[in-house]
């Protein structure tokens, strides 16, 4: 799946192919119109940022930037949820992206669509452990194209009132966790609220936590990719072998969920958990905003799901909530770099992270202030974190749906075999 740098010279690009024909001329003409100079000779560039909760924050920054660069650069803030692939396929990518980063996004880098930002990355003073999160996915030889901006940490959200009412402590080992679930169930409380109607909630929650808590996710995928198309259920490194136990445990945990989990969706889960219908909920900090709106009095805390008998093994799931990149071929790269330079100002980045429950990415980032999340600060500081398996698998493999299938009755063994075969087929063709 990962390509060799040596076949660079023989690679084609879609743009080159189009360039030969009349259609290429037409497309170039159109894109010229779209990105051409705006009013008064100002260079017009687009900032692509559509994380809903952060739109107001970036809107403020954009107008501040536009005022300071009046007449020279004009930034258009594109917040439309849509397909980035389509923009790149039309050869009209945004000048600057402030976007979630995971395996799906790494494709843009791997196929040579993102420019080299090594100099700015150095200036941004990113913690090596955080930059490493970018490098866990395929990169482009010789380039640093993605600058982390914010990471989100997630674990098990729990209702502190319910825990106190039943005299429960946060569990530090797997057996303690199971015991706690049993106690809650015996007391007539739903231990865990699951929303199997939305496949992604299972994949980012219970199974990602189980896998991340039991094995080295990044290392596993690196070895798996290294195998190339020799992958498969019987290969040396395989899902069948590595994921079986985590999945069996995930099923064991899932057995403590609400009985109507199969038909519940993410929105239902937020409402139910906010109203205290269950003691625990496997979601990230993004759910807290909504939970807070539904019930501002709910006292929520968070802990990493312990998957072993050693408390020191506990790790949290993180994701690169926002990362910045500039595409390779855009009309005004210098203007885009100026905007990026402005956004990575430490004060702005810190303000963003405090407002959005994110953790800073610099060597000197201040700790998170929100009381609901600061239990996780220690894990971030000592890099006891992993990126979820669910965002490390190409989405063309319907992993989330597979997880949903297993949670509603499919066999784990059969599913992992399918996953291995899908992976091998993909390795053969890409």
């Amino acid at each position: 799946m990962r390509r060799e740098a040596s076949d660079d010279a023989h690679r084609l690009t879609r743009r080159a192919l189009l360039g030969g024909g009349a259609l290429g001329a037409l497309a170039a003409g159109l894109s010229g119109c779209g990105a051409g100079g705006g009013a008064g000779g100002a260079q017009e560039i687009t900032l692509y940022q559509n994380k809903r909760e952060a739109i107001d924050f970036f809107r403020g920054l954009v107008s501040e930037f536009n005022e300071a660069h009046s007449g020279r650069i004009r930034v258009i803030h594109d917040t439309t949820p849509g397909s980035l692939s389509a923009q790149f396929a039309r050869s009209t990518p945004p000048a600057l992206g402030a976007y979630n980063y995971n395996f799906e996004m790494s494709r843009f880098q791997e196929r040579g669509e993102l420019s080299d930002l090594s100099d700015l990355a150095e200036k941004a003073d990113i913690r090596p452990a955080v930059q490493d999160l970018v490098d866990q996915y395929p990169t482009y030889p010789g380039r640093t194209s993605v600058i982390p901006y914010s990471i989100m940490g997630s674990g098990v959200l729990y209702n502190q009132e319910v825990f106190e009412r039943h005299g429960l402590e946060v569990p530090t080992t797997y057996s303690e966790f199971l015991e706690l679930c049993g106690t809650l169930r015996d007391a007539g409380v739903t231990p865990i609220y699951q929303t199997s109607g939305d496949a992604w909630t299972l994949a980012q929650g219970v199974t990602d936590y189980a896998i991340g808590g039991m094995l080295d996710v990044a290392g596993f995928f690196e070895r798996l990719r290294g195998q190339g198309d020799a992958a498969g259920p019987d290969a040396e490194v395989s899902f069948s072998h590595a994921f079986r136990e985590p999945f069996e445990r995930a099923l064991e945990i899932h057995s403590f969920a609400n009985s109507n989990a199969a038909s519940r969706k993410y929105g239902d889960g937020n409402v139910a958990f906010a109203q205290g219908d269950a003691a625990m909920y496997f979601q990230g900090p993004w759910a807290l905003t909504e939970i807070d709106t539904i019930n501002p009095d709910a006292r929520i805390g968070v802990f990493p799901l312990p998957m072993t008998e050693d408390p020191a093994d506990r790790k949290i799931r993180v994701n690169l909530d926002l990362a910045l990149w500039i595409p390779e071929s855009i009309p005004h790269p210098d203007a885009a770099r100026e905007l990026l330079d402005f956004l990575i100002t430490p004060e702005l980045a810190d303000e963003y992270n405090q407002a959005n429950l994110g953790f800073g990415v610099r060597n000197d980032s201040p700790p998170i202030a929100d009381p609901r999340m600061n239990d996780l600060q220690g894990y971030v500081d000592r890099a006891a974190f992993y990126q979820g398996a669910s965002v490390s698998i190409p989405r063309t493999i319907l992993y989330e749906n597979y997880v949903q299938g297993v949670m509603t009755g499919d066999s784990v063994e059969g599913m992992l075999r399918t996953l291995d075969e899908d992976w091998a087929r993909l390795a053969r063709r890409q």
């Binding site: 692939s85 799906e104 843009f108 038909s263 053969r428 063709r429």
Partner: protein, 310 residues
Amino acid sequence: MSTATEQIATTRADGSRVNPGRGRGRRKVEGVFYLFLLPVLALFTLSITLPAVMGIFFSFTDSVGFGEFNVIGFTNYAVIFSDPAILRAYGFTIGVALCSVVLVNVVALALALGLTSKIKGKTALRTIFVLPMVVSGIIIAFVFRFIFANSLPAAATALGIGPLEESLVSNPSLAWVTIVLVTAFQAAPPAMLIYIAGLMTIPRDVYEASAIDGARPWQQFRHITLPLVSGYVLINMIIGFKDFLSTYEIVVGLTDGGPGTSTVSVAMAIFRGFERGDYAYQMANSTIFFLITLAIALIQLRVTRGRARF
């Protein structure tokens, strides 16, 4: 009358008639008529043919839809035939299309029969039954999702109907039924309109004559109505089957391919390929799908020519 006929038509020795007017037209076509074709031809070529040819080209590469790619020959095609997800999508799509075609035509014909008989409020009822046509498919699907996931289980629980207490859309072996039902809800009205038009072409006196001979309603339906609307049945089958093969928005709104992967249609798989970085592979899939659809269309055309009466 007969002289007029002789003026415009001559009878050949073998008895077949030739229309000299049309024959002359075929020989001498004004060049300007080709000019009229040009805009449409250019549009069709630019927006359909060219992209299709490009898509077929990309099916021989490892492109993800943008950026650098390599030409990899027939690898995508070789992989597709061993991919259970793709094969399952074909099985699901063809199965749902067949069931939908049957259900849609039974419902539409029944409605059309009711709405062409002598009942009160015919116009109002026709309007009501045509309403689903006005609403977009994705909205219908979302509304039904709510009904199947929430309202129906709640009602079933209240009434104590055990099997329906669990949501139909989250049952892997029954979710396809909801897709067929909603497809029928949306596709029955246009089919019904075609049937109404067809039923109105049947002269009343045929029924009167058969009634005098003692035919019962079922016999009238079986031996008069059905044969006389058979052409319309075929039209509806063809239009319906072709539409249902490319079923997309109803699946997205109802199940989004789930639970698991039990309801992923071919069109959905193809579209997901572009969104999820498997562009070239799904281009190979769409090339195959195109050939299958083409084959079905040709078979259906042959059948129609042989049987349909218009």
